[in-house]
Symmetry: C2
Subunit: 255 residues, 2 copies
Amino acid sequence: MNRILLPALAVLLLVTGCVTAPKNTLMQVSTIDALLAGAYDGQMTLDELKEHGDLGIGTFDALEGEMIVIDGKVYQARTDGAVYEMPDQATTPFADVVHFDADHTELLCGPLSAEDLQEKIDQLKPNRNLFLAFRIDGTFSSMKVRSVPKQEKPYPPLADVVKHQAVFEYKDIQGTVLGFRSPAFVKGIGVPGYHLHFISKDRTTGGHVLGLCLNDAILQADTCNDFFLTLTDRDEFGTLDLSKDRSHELEKVEK
Amino acid sequence: MNRILLPALAVLLLVTGCVTAPKNTLMQVSTIDALLAGAYDGQMTLDELKEHGDLGIGTFDALEGEMIVIDGKVYQARTDGAVYEMPDQATTPFADVVHFDADHTELLCGPLSAEDLQEKIDQLKPNRNLFLAFRIDGTFSSMKVRSVPKQEKPYPPLADVVKHQAVFEYKDIQGTVLGFRSPAFVKGIGVPGYHLHFISKDRTTGGHVLGLCLNDAILQADTCNDFFLTLTDRDEFGTLDLSKDRSHELEKVEK
């Protein structure tokens, strides 16, 4: 009887096993305004983060570098210009991930600037009131990325940190631009509009995208109807002033 | 061997069975700004809504009345002043629910106005950056509630609908005030601050709370670290302008 029951048990567990964030759900750790305010303490392990998605962006404990989650692996782009695969026990204070499952694929022919690229995606996916996850695998005639250095307590605001960011420019590089387009109404919680990170095909470099010129690439996009926000009950978060408008700070930090 | 495996299977299913929204998760259908803009078409059945929580507030398809979810039952407070338990196949365009599991209980002694009550909860639960669900079971020397009438297409904005709301005032009534306190940063998505609905103990009347005087009651509160937002991919939602600030409309509608 075990020969019937044990496989049945396995199948049932697969069917009913708790997927923390189901497909089409963008899962976010903390809020962008908390990050702008200096809430850099890691609050979720990468092990747990990966249960919520296999593609995404974010940062690490103490704001150490830019996070790129791709094909279920989590990479850290540091201020030395290099990229490191991170261990499961590392933590993140802010991240967005999704179980990526493209519902649209398109060949892109350049040259396309970052702005052109965003216009192109807006044409293909005009519903700005839902979340959109995407990855763009291809060659770029230029790619400008930045990373941010690890911070010491008391943490300065993010707008001050980016004054000391490390910027790298590459010519004729292969790799993946990935990220999200979020609705205007996430203001204060997430980044309205586009938020892009890059990782090279050989996984040696990457960062937060400041500018690019795309030659040719494949765009894969995944519309997300659901948004799951997870917050910490630590005092660090509870005592922040999250009522003020930090749009100007966000603009300084993103560009 | 079945005697061991079958109970083990049952236990495992209980442990791993997919709860769509886990405890401490506030689940919201659509955004308050979409509702303000007239997105009144039901998009989730009550059957599905109840999977996400057993306590909450909201409205129904075509904006027909105020929703009160209590002890796993969904009630509709209509403009005739009466309350009706709703069938599972009815739908909601906007709702907030939680699997209520109080982490704090407190006796409240009146007289307390709605403002006093909110101050009291703020003292007991000072972390305004997390979501708070609560229910207050007791006697009220006065209770002023409203409900909104079912709308016909093309739907008018909510600020116009409330001009024709039905208002009811009760003296010395027993019942439950329930609802949520949400962080300031949900502006545009949810209702920042307090959002309260009432249902009488005998389940005959209720509505959206406009004012109250509490005599004595038991407060139960449940802090929620997680927020799950579910959106529709229907054109009705996708084509709304959800980028503008509707705070003033919200204020008109709530008070």
